[in-house]
């Protein structure tokens, strides 16, 4: 069971999935880092993105990768508007209110999806859905490999934005020093909304990368949001590098867990990590003491 020809594909599987986890977690950690809130609607919004990709494909035959062009700006705009018009206003400046607003949003979104789209699980069938590629003896599906490459590219773009642009500097600045930010002329509410928009744009991209290799149902968000929380906790809340490392670690643990314990129990390892991190290193691998 522990021969290399089994472990190697499992490792690759874990790493490819980990890249997607990292991208989803980055959206979550970015919003946390700036707004100091946990976006409970993160999973439901990913689900919304997945449905968007699904229907674009079903009705207009838009290839999921082409759908990136619509999903990334679309989700960004949705995020910007949500923060500006709903979350920011509904919270009245109180963090615990934001928490409840996002939780409420997730419940509304999920039940609307259930009402309009039904509860069945849906998939799309593309020409390349079951195409395989061989990497040093391990067979992986093409969508899997494309998804991880795409996710990593998005992470890199996000890093460039955060490190090299005024927008990124402003986002990092308001994370720690809001009044100082106002005094250099940063429109704090605008940057909040930009951060939320970027967090959702990550989800839009993740949805496009995921769907060819995955499925969508109104509850699909739960699968990812729990994993994303684990990634963020493991890596350290608000840490960029932490999300990447955490994403890969969780992907690999899940993959090996599935190998040893069977597909349905694969996630046990993930939650063991989650609890262990909370017990022994609550600030995460790359987090700062809170």
């Amino acid at each position: 069971m522990l021969e290399p020809q089994i472990l190697w594909p499992a490792l690759l599987n874990g790493l490819t999935m980990g890249a997607i986890y990292a991208l989803i977690a980055l959206g979550l950690t970015l919003v946390y880092g700036v707004l100091h809130i946990i976006n409970f609607a993160h999973g439901s919004l990913l689900m919304l993105g997945l449905y968007a990709v699904f229907f674009l494909f079903k009705f207009w035959k838009v290839d999921p990768y082409v759908a990136l062009l619509a999903l990334v700006p679309g989700m960004f705009a949705l995020g910007y508007a949500l923060q500006r018009l709903v979350i920011g206003r509904g919270s009245h400046g109180k963090d615990e209110n934001i928490l409840l607003v996002t939780l409420g949003l997730s419940i509304i979104i999920e039940n609307l999806a259930l009402h309009f789209f039904g509860s069945e699980t849906r998939q799309i069938e593309t020409a390349y859905s079951s195409a395989m590629v061989n990497i040093a003896g391990a067979s992986l599906t093409v969508p899997r490999v494309a998804a991880s490459a795409g996710a990593l590219t998005c992470c890199a773009i996000l890093w460039l934005i955060m490190a090299r642009t005024d927008l990124g500097r402003a986002i990092r600045a308001i994370a720690k020093e809001r009044q100082g930010a106002r005094l250099v002329g940063i429109d704090v509410e605008h940057i909040f909304a930009m951060s939320f928009g970027i967090g959702l744009a990550c989800l839009g991209a993740a949805a496009c990368f995921l769907l060819p290799a995955f499925y969508v149902s109104p509850q699909v968000g739960h699968t990812f949001v729990l994993v994303a929380f684990t990634v963020v906790v493991l890596g350290g809340m608000g840490s960029f590098v932490g999300s990447l490392v955490g994403g890969f670690a969780v992907g690999v643990v899940e993959s090996f867990g599935g190998l040893m314990l069977g597909e349905s129990l694969g996630q046990i390892g993930v939650f063991v990590i989650f609890i262990a991190v909370l017990l022994f290193r609550p600030s995460g691998l790359f987090g700062h003491k809170v």
């Binding site: 990092r172 009044q179 106002r182 940063i186």
Partner: protein
Amino acid sequence: MSALLDVRDLRAGYGPVEVLRGVSLAVGAGEIVALLGSNGAGKSTLNNNVSGIFRPTAGSIHFDGEDITGTASAAIVERGLIHVPEGRRVFPNLNVRENLELGSYRRARARRSANLERVVATFPRLAERFAQKAGTLSGGEQQMLAIGRALMAEPRLLILDEPSLGLSPLLVEEMFNLIGRLNRDGLAILLVEQNVAQSLEIAGRAFVLENGAIAHQGAAADLVDDPGVKRAYLGI
């Protein structure tokens, strides 16, 4: 006279607590005006209302002839009214260079690199610390960074709120020299200080705030000799 900054009958506070009870003061172009007063007199409240962090409840603020009462801070920065707050408020998680760059986030962005060179020439110490996180700087260095960040926006009026607070006597001396130098280059400065003697030395005019209202005002040279000011602030 048409002053650069003209504050009239300003009333402001926090919720039901009124801190400023009708404050009027003016800063002319190229002038250093000192705003003095003890803790809790309302100096910082005044600054925060002028720079748009808070909205006043009554009265008016004009900058360069334009009404900026209740305007958002971003728009005020854009006009060139730059406030270096008490406690510096630098971005601790960003390095020194990034802090300075953000100084020109709203204003003078096109001349960022030229201004960066100018600020570094004024504060050579900051250049040595360029890659260091601002949170790891000493108090004096953070104060220089906060002023440097403000200079990046090419201010027309600089509000300096307690720039000498927490600095060693040597650095305080250096700070006042710097303020004088900036002013000689034509920059108008509203200097808020508890360091009364030195402020009156450097300023042209001064206002003394007591319990949310202006208690004394006039030429700095006259205020030094004012018995009330002497007794309350100079300890003589």
